[in-house]
Symmetry: C2
DNA sequence: GCCGTTTAGTTGAGCCTTCAATCATCGCGG
DNA sequence: CCGCGATGATTGAAGGCTCAACTAAACGGC
């Protein structure tokens, strides 16, 4: 069966390319800043954030992967690295012998607290400062729609 | 001098997290599809696209890096890989002895042509199909604003 | 024409991510 | 209570990205 490709029209094309350029530039910039100022990539920062917000500053590996939008494998490697940095500690899960719990150490929390202001400032400068209040609203709507669309299917 | 951190308010927080989730999920999905169907990551696909659109299907390395939103180093590595795949060829630049010109081969063009329909379909399914016409307009506005803000500074 | 600076591009080391394979444990149907 | 598919997590190899260092050629002033 032959399926005709639904090509992008010029408007969609323009939208897609602008989105690619913008999101890549934004992420690259924030990643570079975080690496420079806090010595960790954005993905690792997010792991620490999620842990810091969890009750007891700890989460099961799977839940942490889900929360941080990471694959299990990636999280395993990442936590291994964070552990050698002394920012996270692994513990056995009391209710499931297969499970592991990642715990944010005091050192990790302190590192996060030190990195947060600079990073937030970066997000503000590179993202929010450029957009009007209306655009920020729109971006939230679009992002939430998309997030549901993508993680739902 | 002490600078107060301009923390994100709850709305901004929500926007930022949704954006992170959505853009990461979108890119991960498209990257995985492209890797599976065409044997290359999205960054490489984009290099081929830019080359295919250039006059003579060729571009100076620097211009290609700029067009593809890539660092010079990344592009060097990428083109090296694309060259061993037989999709791109390097030539001396006639007007600047320091320069190199990346040329899309027929093989590369054919590979791109084979990959494009599937990829475009993915972009449509994962992005445009989820958004209303109004949202698509908004996304273009936001992305273009952002792209200028980020690449201008 | 010469020297210092800028620009073009490459390279290698180190780190991060992905993929597939693996291992252990859990929980359910019979 | 046993077997087996599903689940939780890790591992290693392969490949991509970043950073800093480096080479070579062009440019600009004098």
């Amino acid at each position: 069966m032959v399926v005709m490709t639904r090509w992008l029209n010029p408007d969609e094309q323009r939208t897609w390319r602008a989105f690619l350029t913008a999101s890549r530039a934004l992420m690259d910039t924030l990643d570079r800043e975080l690496q420079r100022d806090a010595g960790m990539p954005h993905a690792y920062y997010e792991i620490l954030v999620r842990l810091s917000e969890a009750p007891g500053r700890q989460l099961r590996m799977s839940d942490l992967a889900e929360a941080a939008g990471s694959s299990r494998s990636r999280l395993s490697h990442a936590v291994a690295r964070l552990e050698t940095a002394g920012w996270v500690r692994r513990e056995e899960c009391p209710t499931d012998r297969r499970g592991q719990v990642a715990v944010l150490t005091d050192d990790g929390f302190a590192t996060l607290a030190a990195a947060a202001p600079g990073h937030v400032e970066g997000v503000r400068r590179h993202l929010f400062d450029a957009l009007s209040p209306a655009q920020i609203d729109q971006l939230r709507g679009i992002s939430e729609t998309l997030a549901e669309h993508l993680t739902g299917s």
